[in-house]
Amino acid sequence: MTDVTNLEERFQARIDAEQKIEPKDWMPEKYRKTLVRQISQHAHSEVVGMLPEGNWITRAPSLRRKAILLAKVQDEAGHGLYLYSACETLGVTREKTIDDLLSGKAKYSSIFNYPTLTWADIGAVGWLVDGAAIMNQVMLCRTSYGPYARAMVRICKEESFHQRQGYEIMSVLAKGTPEQKEMAQDALNRWWWPSLMMFGPSDANSPNSADSMKWKIKRQSNDELRQIFIDRTVQQAEVIGLTIPDPELKWNEATKHYDWGAIDWTEFNNVVAGNGPCNKERLAARNKAHDEGAWVREAALAYAAKKAKKQAA
């Protein structure tokens, strides 16, 4: 019988030597499970994330904005596809992964349980939500699992366009009429704290972090990434004349970083537990699309089977 301890040591040695782990390589079961959980959550986030943005495709205020938003949401569906494929390399079918989302068993990024109430929210989602996601995704381009890292390289290129278009929406609104500026500030007020929560709990309270760091799935801690995001975003807000809704936000000359106020983790835990403003709507919308699309998928399978049979004959 193979010695598991020995295998684990060899696995860790490969990780330490910065070798990518590929689908057919031996890996600890917990490494595989951690990846499946993380990649599937990421895939679901892309797909559920289409809903709050799709909410404004039919109401986008100009043809140019409508076209950009369509392109962005199309990218997100594409990201969902690569990530479900990356999951399949770990032995979990797309059907199973999606079933777990639909039943409520699998999680997705809690940020998408907030509503997009005004057009400025589309700007805020691009600027803040995609901006926060990029911090993680840039790090994940160097993650130890090969298929995930390669999917991320492609995703990152598109996400940076998403972030820029969101910021551009905000900057146009901030320079616009008083009503538009108010709309932009209101969106920043509502999306700021949930965006900071996207990085996950503080390192001290992050149960999966230690293993993920050891296995180089993650290379930077939640708090480190959150700090980089805050430092960058505060300056971007200043440029366009919007105010970050945190009275405790202050430049710290000693650390060369911004200090910020306390995050309300009760709210975060509530949204994760299913009590966010849109949890029920999001899951209901995904289930409705899945159920109403069942006959379409069945037709495609039936037709493919008929065609294969004809070709074999």
Partner: protein
């Protein structure tokens, strides 16, 4: 139809220029309204690949619509913009066919609506590449490749539905029967269109109808679906007399521009 090099500029003649403006608007409105309907599917498609395909189609359609609007406002010469055309016209001023404004319905309705439009749009775009109007020809040249993909996409699905399961066959036939009445309007050749044909700008629609018929017959045969009889054909869209659906579509689409007049976005 092509008469390149005759040196005739329709924009120099006020009557012709109004007709050309209306023609570009008709082409553009069909595409914008269809794009809007396809955009409504976003995030609600039957399978992720179709979310991508529908967004992609919506993007192609809106791209072509923008090119046409951009040209229309130049022909008109009143300083309007593409967004003025899309967001600040009322129901009666839209000149799309009734086909494209029909609600999405189930996925069979959406596919059939696109298929019927694609079977008309591809040969039209091909013919318009030979338009005597260089701008219309250039816009069409860009659209042809996209239109080929669109027709393949909608045909492939219609064949899958027709020759898939009993349910998909039934739904596809129902959609076809329901939407067929809107196909006649695609080929109505009124005074505006006649003027375009005479100037070599647009093709005679009877040639487009032949290509449409051939595509429909070929695809429906493979799909084992029945071509509906040519009964009463709806029209009026080209004159701005629409179904009740369009008003709601525009109310949603134009909301921000109407609520905040003059704002830049």
């Amino acid at each position: 139809m092509s008469r390149p090099g005759t040196g005739f500029d329709p924009r120099s003649d006020p009557i012709m220029s109004t007709a050309l403006f209306t023609y570009a608007l008709r082409l553009g409105d069909d595409l914008l309204i269809l794009s809007h309907r396809l955009g409504e599917w976003c995030g609600h498609g039957p399978v992720l690949e179709e979310d991508i395909a529908l967004a992609n189609r919506a993007l192609d359609h809106i791209g072509e619509a923008r090119n046409l609007y951009d040209y229309a406002v130049k022909v008109e010469g009143k300083g309007r913009t593409e967004d003025d055309l899309a967001y600040l016209r009322a129901e009666r001023q839209f000149v799309n066919t009734k086909l494209v404004e029909q609600p999405n319905g189930d996925y069979a309705h959406t596919i059939v609506r696109s298929f019927l439009f694609d079977a008309y749009h591809l040969p039209l775009a091909e013919a318009l590449t030979r338009s005597s109007d260089a701008q219309i020809a250039a816009i069409a040249a860009k659209a042809v490749k996209e239109a080929q993909y669109h027709l393949k996409h909608s045909s492939d699905w219609l064949i899958r539905f027709g020759d898939g399961t009993e349910e998909s066959h039934r739904r596809a036939q129902e959609a076809l029967d329901a939407l067929w009445t809107y196909t006649g309007e695609l080929f109505v050749q009124d005074d505006v269109h006649e003027a375009m044909v005479k100037a070599g700008i647009a093709p005679d629609l009877s040639t487009i109808k032949q290509a449409f018929d051939a595509t429909v017959d070929r695809v429906l045969a493979e799909a084992t679906l029945k071509r509906p009889a040519d009964g009463y054909m709806m029209s009026g869209g080209r004159q701005g007399k629409h179904s009740e659906h369009l008003g709601f579509l525009l109310a949603e689409m134009q909301y921000l521009q109407r609520a905040y007049p003059g704002a830049e976005w």
